[in-house]
């Protein structure tokens, strides 16, 4: 089972997961082999072959799969914006909003 919250914010409200640039992706599947959280799915005989199947399994702020990607086809959302967003939600909820 994956985490359901991050710093008290439900995981589905935090947009943090890899983005695949299919112009760069060469279907090597290094990222899928690397990630222990079952974020990606490899679909044989389909196009695109690699998709982000379980974005909410992705560990918030982890970008390790992007480092394994030879063609640099994986990016992540802006960390500072994500941090600010999490703080904003927490603040809103603390204030009863």
């Amino acid at each position: 089972m994956s985490e359901t919250t991050f710093m008290g914010v439900t995981r589905d409200r935090i947009d943090w997961s890899p983005r695949i640039d299919y112009d760069k992706c060469n279907d090597c599947m290094e990222c899928d082999e690397f990630c222990p959280h079952d974020v990606f799915e490899v679909r044989e005989d389909q196009s695109p072959k690699l998709i982000v199947k379980n974005p909410e399994n992705c560990v918030v702020f982890c970008r390790a799969c992007a480092k394994t990607c030879g063609p640099d086809a994986i990016t992540f959302p802006n960390k500072n914006e994500t941090t600010a967003y999490i703080k904003q939600i927490r603040k809103g909820e603390a204030a009863g909003g």
Binding site: P36, V60, R63, R90
Partner: protein, 288 residues
């Protein structure tokens, strides 16, 4: 000879907690050979107190979370040997510091207890001889332990430890922090074979990575709980990464950071009591 300090109180006049720092400083002066560093004069003149801070261990007394005295010490490049935050102490002692700027009986009690605590601590604080690095970390830690199957997990209960939900700890003291991973990380990775650090001098934002640790099973990205500049890394881990498995809180520490905005970073961190249930849940859900 009694323990003595160079005492730097915040001496804040607009909060009761600031007045408490002043009172603690005066009491220490009376009872020991301690000397006071006046924050107001220190701000405009380095020469008066520079030598004093070298001769005696520096005790910084902050009244509130703004930590003016700690910041002043950092600005002046002083290493803090001991630090007390009066507001935190008041919470621990269950003492309400009122809005009244003069000290009430409860505040006086807090002064007495703090001074007694400082003078009774048996550990003699060494004056800094090799620079700021490493000196701020406690000599020994206390742990809470729990077990899953045959595995025993530990978590330090000592004050000053903060944790992010990426299972990385920071021990914060003054303007410095030491960083490492928790027992959950080292146990879930099992035998760690590689430690790839970030560079000393690197400027790190909160949740940037501080390098990786790797076992035969997986690579773990070390997500920094705090922002600042990396002042040192634990080079011993490069040759002996197994130290991380032996104890990730003591000899297996990862890096040290000079903090840039801990007051802000802290908003997204847990203390021991917040992180313990998270680590327990992760341990329960983890399948080897």
């Amino acid at each position: 000879m009694d323990k003595s300090y160079a005492v730097l109180p915040c001496n804040g006049l607009d909060k009761c907690a600031g007045s408490v720092t002043r009172e603690i400083a005066l009491r220490l002066l009376k009872k020991t050979d301690s000397k006071i560093i006046c924050p107001v004069f220190f701000r405009v003149s380095d020469s008066r107190y520079g030598k004093l801070a070298q001769e005696k261990p520096l005790l910084v007394l902050d009244g509130c979370a703004t930590r003016c005295a700690s910041k002043l010490a950092a600005e002046k490049g002083l290493k803090i040997d001991e630090r007390i935050n009066v507001s935190d102490m008041a919470k621990e002692e269950n003492i309400a510091l009122g809005l009244d700027l003069t000290l009430n009986a409860e505040a006086q009690t807090l002064v007495e207890r703090t001074v007694a605590g400082l003078l009774s601590s048996s550990e003699t604080v060494a004056v800094d001889q090799e620079g700021a690095a490493h000196a701020f970390f406690p000599a020994c830690l206390s742990y809470e332990t729990f077990q899953k199957d045959k595995f025993i997990f530990r978590l330090p209960v000592d004050e000053g430890f903060y944790f992010n939900e990426n299972d990385v700890w920071a021990y914060v003291s003054g303007t410095h922090a030491r960083i490492g991973v928790t027992d959950f990380v080292q146990k879930s990775l099992s035998d760690i074979m590689f430690f790839t650090p970030t560079a000393v001098g690197a400027e790190i934002e909160q949740f940037d990575d501080l390098g990786t640790v790797e076992s035969g099973k997986a690579v773990f990205e070390i997500i920094s709980p705090v922002s600042g500049i990396v002042t040192s890394i634990n080079e011993k881990l490069i040759d002996a990464p197994e130290m991380l498995n032996q104890n990730p809180y003591e000899q297996g520490w990862i890096a040290e950071i000079e903090l840039s905005d801990f007051a802000e970073d802290r908003n997204l961190l847990h203390t021991f009591s917040g992180y313990l249930p998270i680590m327990k849940r992760k341990v329960t859900e983890f399948h080897v």
